[in-house]
Amino acid sequence: MPTVTIDGCEVKVKRDATILDAARKAGIWIPTLCYHPAVPSEATCRLCMVELDRGEWKQLVTACNYPVRRDIVVYVSSERAKKARRGVMELLLARAPESQELKALAERMGVKGTPYPNVTDSQRNCILCGLCVQVCEQIIGKAAISFAGRGAERTVAAPFRQPSEDCIGCGACAAICPVGTIKVRLHKEQQEVEISPFKSRVKLLVCQECGTPIVSSEVSEQVLRKSQIDWQEFRELLRLCPKCRRSQTSARLRAASVYK
């Protein structure tokens, strides 16, 4: 097992673990945005820069995807590494000035605001880390959203920037978004769930007893298909909200006079 020396602290990790894995094991914090254990690291945000000692020279590398293959020495809190992370954060703050999550992370890093104006906003408050695109395709299996455009024009969008027909309204993208830009909105009157800013809308399954929205109808279909349960009673239960399901179950039990 190779040893990683981070800021003087030694940890052993499996071959091909990343510097970030090693740092977490050693209890050393490295800020990240586009990293998520559920999907492969694309290292797009460049926030997790650390300095790798190569003997004759030192190189900035991204901790989230640099594979450890031999003993290495890494600096997380060297001036150069801190400056690089600060620089990246300042650019991100200029791009997504309204994100509270981003501000909080910047504060934790000791970055106070940005000297840069907002000059790119192909997608408001989005840092284009790509986690939503990855989770939709690789975990949910839908690819309802993808990147469109190049350079400063890059955005995340459904094909032709229209509401996606493939979106099942699961909200995984919103859950994984590190800057809180993707939101799940419920439209009670229309009984629809909307994934913003992609404008995709999906019908909600509503409780047949009380009318409370339960979950996106497409999600429940997908769950049924994936779990391969086609059991009438189960389907019945799915039509009720948890509250109604509980009261119905207890009513049935009562009727069966268990407590008599």
């Binding site: 690089a84 990246v88 350079g151």
Partner: protein, 622 residues
């Protein structure tokens, strides 16, 4: 191929036999008309010239031994269309359709030279008959381009007759893959696509990498604006690239090759496809090549149409059918590249050098150039020089010799200001470094780079801040947008540069640009972003006073940035003709006929109409 009287070579002996037969069939007195069909000459109508020559050949009857052939770019594009008559190598330039009959009658049939179509040496005023006597060619040393201007790129027999595929034969007869790699290592050849990585070492790593199949790829994406080196090799001598790849594949242990050609190069695709098909027919590509146990197939793919697709990992993603975006290279492509398999990628020019290295030996190649940069390099020389075109020079030549001797100096008697090398993310080198030697290390030390061989010469009337802005704008548009520093950083840099050229620069802008440059270099994901600040950083380094003039004095010293200079009429030169007055859209010019006119600076909108229209160049930028 029935035309060659042979179906398929099943041994080296058969290939040699064919070469002898081809050479014997050429009679010493037979004339050959070489019409250049490089991109520059084609743009000036050389295909039509070729057709007319063909008709003339046909009309001459069978007792006249003459053939017309299209050949690859000669390089002297400034003087195109070019026609060379062999034997004798009589070099005609700026040939037009009506000249064809005269050339045919006088030179081809009569053996006389048509003086007026010869090149005139501007230094001596003398007419020059042969290419190698023209200053443009004298300083050059052609290896990668040696077949250009000589071979018909559509005919494999031409390539074979000139010694083509002997290097492959040599490799397949007594050499082990190990020996091939050692020879390439000995040559000191470094990648011509930009990075300058030692080719032999790359091959060795790929050979040693675990996994199969292994892939060999040729990078023909050539996305640099204004560059056409690789194009001219692919279109002018496609078999040299194919032969190089065959040798590389043999050395590495690969059976599958791809050539990734820039989408805007349909003729390159056509020529390469044709060449691969011909080589296949003769058993030079495909299964059991030349009767050996070595097999190698080549496919031609069209590029994704973006500059970044030329980057190695983006290219491989694009070949796999995914978006052409780079990925981290902490695990090298020689280990895990195309389809996750060991992949060796080299540039067109790199491949084209290989047959020569095998034929003449690594030691010969290493004898050319500097300590760490061996051999020659092809450059596309453009901008404000007299002779633009494609040039191949030994490494280590000074920039001054390229610009003055080959390029013929600056156009219109103006003064040199800077030369930009290395493509869009190269740097600008000023006059004080013109005696620097052109090699990988030296150019990097000067804040520029070798890149793939773009060379743009700029005269004194070029605003260096605008130059920096132009390249930053190009790179910002071509950035894939995947990573933060490149996408956001370039946009911020462009924003600042826009401000400066609009006369709204602020104190601190230069420092901010430098800071962003450092950030890009250190943190961007791929080499596009890492090098993207070079144009800005190098112009700040050498032309800081120009930035200062814009920011502090609101003045553009080169008088290119609108609003940062004024127009005035020189009363000495003004003839009072009234043309400016009539054309001024702002009614800002006053003056009586035959009396010097005056521009009312309050009213002037700085549109520049008067400056363009004045027939006496009396309107000055001040």
């Amino acid at each position: 191929m029935t035309e060659l009287g042979i179906k398929r070579f099943s041994s080296l002996v058969e290939l040699e036999g064919m070469r002898e037969k081809l050479l014997n069939s050429r009679s010493a007195s037979a004339k050959s008309i070489h019409v250049c069909t490089g991109p520059g000459c084609v743009a000036k109508g050389s295909f039509k010239l070729y057709e007319i020559f063909c008709a003339a050949v046909e009309g001459a009857g069978s007792d006249v031994q003459v053939q017309a052939k299209c050949v690859g770019c000669h390089g002297f594009c400034e003087r195109g269309p070019i026609v060379v008559i062999e034997p004798g190598g009589i070099f005609y330039q700026r040939v037009e359709e009506p000249d064809v009959a005269e050339i045919f009658r006088e030179t081809v049939l009569g053996g006389r030279v048509v003086e007026r179509l010869l090149y005139e040496d501007p230094n001596t005023g003398k007419k020059v008959e042969k290419a190698n006597e023209i200053p443009f060619y004298k300083v050059q040393e052609r290896i990668a381009l040696s077949g250009n201007g000589l071979l018909d790129p559509t005919e494999i027999s031409d390539y074979i007759a000139e010694g083509g595929y002997t290097a492959l034969a040599k490799v397949l007869s007594p050499m082990t893959p190990e020996e091939v790699i050692s020879e390439v290592e000995l040559s000191g050849l470094r990648g011509r696509g930009g990075g300058g990585f030692p080719t032999g070492r790359k091959w060795r790593s790929c050979r040693q990498a675990e996994g199969s199949p292994k892939y060999v790829i040729c990078n023909g994406d050539e996305g640099d604006p204004g560059a056409f080196m690789d194009r001219c090799i692919m279109e002018g001598n496609p078999h040299s690239v194919i032969e190089g790849m065959l040798i590389g594949a043999y050395a590495i242990g690969s059976e599958h090759g791809y050539i990734y050609v820039r989408n805007e190069y349909p003729l390159s695709v056509e020529r390469l496809k044709n060449a691969v098909a011909q080589a296949k027919e003769l058993g030079l590509v495909g299964e059991t090549i030349l009767g050996s146990s070595f097999s190698f197939d080549i496919r031609i793919n069209r590029g994704g149409g973006a500059f970044v697709c030329g980057e190695s990992t983006a290219l491989m993603a694009s070949l796999e059918g995914r978006p052409g975006e780079p990925r981290a290279k902490y695990v090298h492509t020689v280990e895990s590249g195309f389809r996750g398999k060991p992949t060796n990628l080299n540039n067109v020019e790199t491949w084209a050098n290989i047959p020569h290295i095998i034929n003449r030996g690594g030691k010969w190649f290493a004898g050319i150039g500097t300590e760490k940069s061996k051999g020659t390099k092809v450059f596309s020389l453009v901008g404000n020089v007299v002779n633009t075109g494609l040039v191949e020079v030994p490494m280590g030549i000074t920039m001054r010799r390229i610009i003055d001797e080959i390029g013929g100096g600056i156009r219109d008697g103006k003064r040199f200001k800077a030369v930009q090398t290395g493509g869009p993310s190269g740097g600008c080198i000023p006059a004080e470094h013109l005696d620097a030697r052109v090699d990988f290390e030296e150019l990097t030390k000067l804040g520029s780079m070798m890149g793939s061989g773009g060379m743009i010469v700029m005269d004194e009337e070029t605003c260096m801040v605008r130059v920096a802005k132009y390249f930053t704008d190009f790179l910002q548009k071509e950035s894939c947008g995947k990573c933060t520093p490149c996408r956001e950083g370039l946009a911020q840099m462009l924003y600042i540069l826009d401000r400066i050229t609009d006369g709204e620069g602020q104190v601190g802008d230069i420092e901010r640009l430098e800071e962003l440059g450092g950030l890009l270099e250190g943190t961007a994901l791929c080499a596009l972003g890492k090098t993207a600040a070079n144009p800005v950083i190098s112009t700040i380094r050498y032309f800081r006073d120009e930035y200062d003039a814009h920011i502090l004095d609101g003045r553009c010293p080169a008088k290119e940035c609108r609003g940062l200079f004024r127009y005035e009429i020189d009363p000495e030169a003004c003839n009072g003709c009234g043309i400016c007055l009539k054309n001024c859209p702002a009614d800002a010019i006053t003056g009586e006929k035959k009396v010097p006119h005056v521009i009312n600076q309050e009213k002037c909108t700085l549109c520049g109409t008067c400056w363009e229209k004045c027939p006496f160049t009396a309107v000055l930028k001040v």
